[in-house]
């Protein structure tokens, strides 16, 4: 199958959508499909093979990082050329309900289109405002995918369409086997609890975990809490306080390889988040790495942990409940082994090979056999693709407006 993926955010900036597109493309290529990616980026030269540059994106701050918004005649012309040269059986756009390259491709492409909605809470306001306007183009999408129930709910509420839920994938084998962090080994004398995430964000729940640690330390005097992630070390220092200092180790921001090693090293992985998790990839990663999970009872976590069968659920924001759960789990190696075994089975269902096969089933459902490939609309503005793409910041409305009149 020939598949065209459209990533609306800059390829060179780390982000969930970008990783999703990258991993999906790799997995599908591994299954002998031809996959091309269209994406904005800062510099065309740095893009890997089979990734096509759609232009520089106008940076817009979003969710702590810079997301690229791209909407103009040059991008439209590049997208058109990409579609025409690609001869795709299906085009898969990501996050199309914003003023983005993905929406642009929805406007231009003729043929089977699949869209994935990766919603985040902050986004739904934009979606509510933009939804009705983008509708004429979003209704060209033949199959909609949401990465979580939460994303599906946002999509149903604001765009009035249904979506199939296919979760984010995880490279399970990369987490399952490999080295541990130097100096920390699972099952060593001093038990370790792991926390991963931006530790200075209260909604990630580290203060609750630290409160709980004070009781856990009473039961298990040798316990160590390993904190990994971004944040301000001084703030953490103040939060930890004198009494807990010997029991808390700050690892700081970890590389991808170190992160897998970290998850393989901890005896218990703890996700005390208070709110705002759409899916909880990190829980799947921890389970893939064989770590028993203790998590707060957010909807998303409850679902990933299969109502507590694959991990221990505790009341969110309740240090006493969390402390009881952690202490009991640290005292019971058999229970940890049991959770770890169930977790590994659950995580296997989120492996990219499984997820990609489900996405492929969606492709095959929308692409009629013999139904023809995706083409671009007939408008020709290849002249804009001259040697200097200077018209980058074109009037944003000119593209859709022209289309509206022409047809």
């Amino acid at each position: 199958m020939r598949i065209g993926l459209v990533c609306p955010y800059r390829w060179d900036v780390p982000g969930g959508v970008q990783y999703h597109v990258r991993d999906l493309a790799e997995t599908l290529r591994g299954m002998d499909h031809h996959v091309e990616v269209l994406t904005p980026a800062e510099r065309e030269e740095f893009l890997p093979e089979h990734v096509t540059f759609s232009g520089r994106a106008v940076p817009v701050p979003y969710n702590g990082s810079m997301a690229g918004v791209q909407f103009g005649l040059v991008s439209a012309a590049r997208a058109r050329r990409w579609l025409r040269e690609g001869h795709f059986d299906v085009v898969h756009v990501h996050e199309p309900a914003s003023v983005s390259l993905s929406l642009l491709v929805c406007m231009i492409a003729r043929g089977p289109i699949v869209a994935t909605f990766h919603a985040a809470t902050t986004r739904s306001k934009v979606l509510a405002a933009l939804g009705p306007w983008a509708r004429p183009w979003l209704e060209r999408i033949n199959g909609r995918i949401a990465v979580s129930d939460f994303a599906r709910r946002v999509q149903v509420e604001h765009l009035g369409g249904d979506a199939v839920v296919i979760p984010n994938g995880v490279h399970v084998p990369a987490f399952a086997t490999g080295p541990s962090l130097p100096g920390h080994r699972r099952g060593a004398q001093a038990p370790t609890i792991g926390f991963l995430g931006r530790y200075d964000e209260p909604r990630k729940g580290l203060p609750v975990l630290l409160d709980a640690m004070r009781s856990v330390v009473a039961d298990h005097p040798t316990v160590q809490l390993l904190v990994a992630g971004r944040g301000d070390p001084d703030e953490l220092e103040a939060l930890v306080g004198e009494d807990l200092r010997p029991h808390v180790t700050l690892l700081g921001e970890l590389t991808e390889a170190d992160k897998t090693a970290f998850l393989r090293s901890v005896d218990v992985y703890c996700a005390p988040n208070l709110m705002g998790e759409s899916f909880g990839v990190v829980l799947v990663e921890a389970m893939a790495a064989g770590a028993p999970v203790v998590a707060s009872d957010l909807d998303a976590f409850t679902r990933v942990l299969e109502d507590g069968a694959a991990g221990l659920l505790v009341r969110r924001g309740d240090p006493a409940d969390l402390a009881t759960g952690l202490s009991a789990l640290l005292a019971d190696p058999d229970r940890r082994a049991g959770l770890s075994a169930v977790g590994a089975r659950v995580a296997a269902g989120y492996d990219w090979s499984v997820v990609a096969r489900r996405i492929l089933a969606v492709y095959e459902t929308v692409a009629l056999p013999g139904g023809g490939a995706v083409t671009a609309s007939t408008d020709e503005n290849g002249a804009l693709l001259g040697p200097t793409p200077s018209a980058q910041r074109d009037d944003a409305t000119s593209g859709p407006f022209r289309r509206r009149v022409r047809r």
Binding site: Y350, T365, R407
Partner: protein, 177 residues
């Protein structure tokens, strides 16, 4: 300018706008009709494939299933395969019920996949119907009777064990949304 010419100009602009809107909406409706048609072709094919599988199961596993069960399955499959029988949804539901009664061990390798395909196709078809209905229900579309003569697209509602498609895991039946 006089009041008269102002009125004339306003009327002209309004007329141009409504003409443009009508043309644009007709294009959208035509495109949506195509989408509904294609989605139906896929759904029809998926349902037929499931019915064929059921026939195969009834033929090959007749001994294990026992006579009445195998006959019921074959009858349900036949009902689902002949659209002349009237209520297609009821026929497909009956087939789905019979198929769910077959023990997992007896299902051939493609059975689960066929079920998933039916779930996906039905969902995408209903999605296309929903989009069409939303546009046709718009006040101006109704007022101008755009596509009023076309048949009103129907949802296809069957119980397809869709949790396998909707939820992350089969058997997770919480209502979403």
């Amino acid at each position: 300018m006089t009041t008269g010419s102002w009125l004339l100009l306003t009327a002209g602009v309004l007329l141009m706008f409504s003409l443009g809107w009508t043309a644009w909406t007709l294009t959208r409706l035509r495109r949506l009709a195509g989408r509904v048609r294609r989605a139906w072709v896929v759904l029809d094919a998926a349902l037929l494939r499931r019915a064929e599988l059921a026939v195969a199961i009834a033929a090959t596993c007749a001994a294990e299933l026992g006579r009445p069960a195998a006959d019921d399955l074959a009858a349900a499959a036949a009902g689902a395969r002949s659209p002349a029988a009237g209520d297609r949804e009821a026929a497909e539901n009956a087939l789905g019920r019979e198929l769910r009664r077959v023990p997992n061990a007896m299902l051939p390798s493609g059975a689960e996949d066929a079920d998933v395909r039916v779930g996906l196709a039905r969902r995408f078809y209903n999605d296309a119907v929903r989009d069409t209905r939303a546009l046709r229900r718009r006040r101006l579309s109704r007022l101008l009777r755009l596509h009023a003569r076309r048949p009103w697209p129907r949802y296809f509602d069957i119980d397809d064990g869709q949790d396998a498609v909707v939820g992350a895991h089969a058997g997770d039946g919480r209502p979403a949304g």
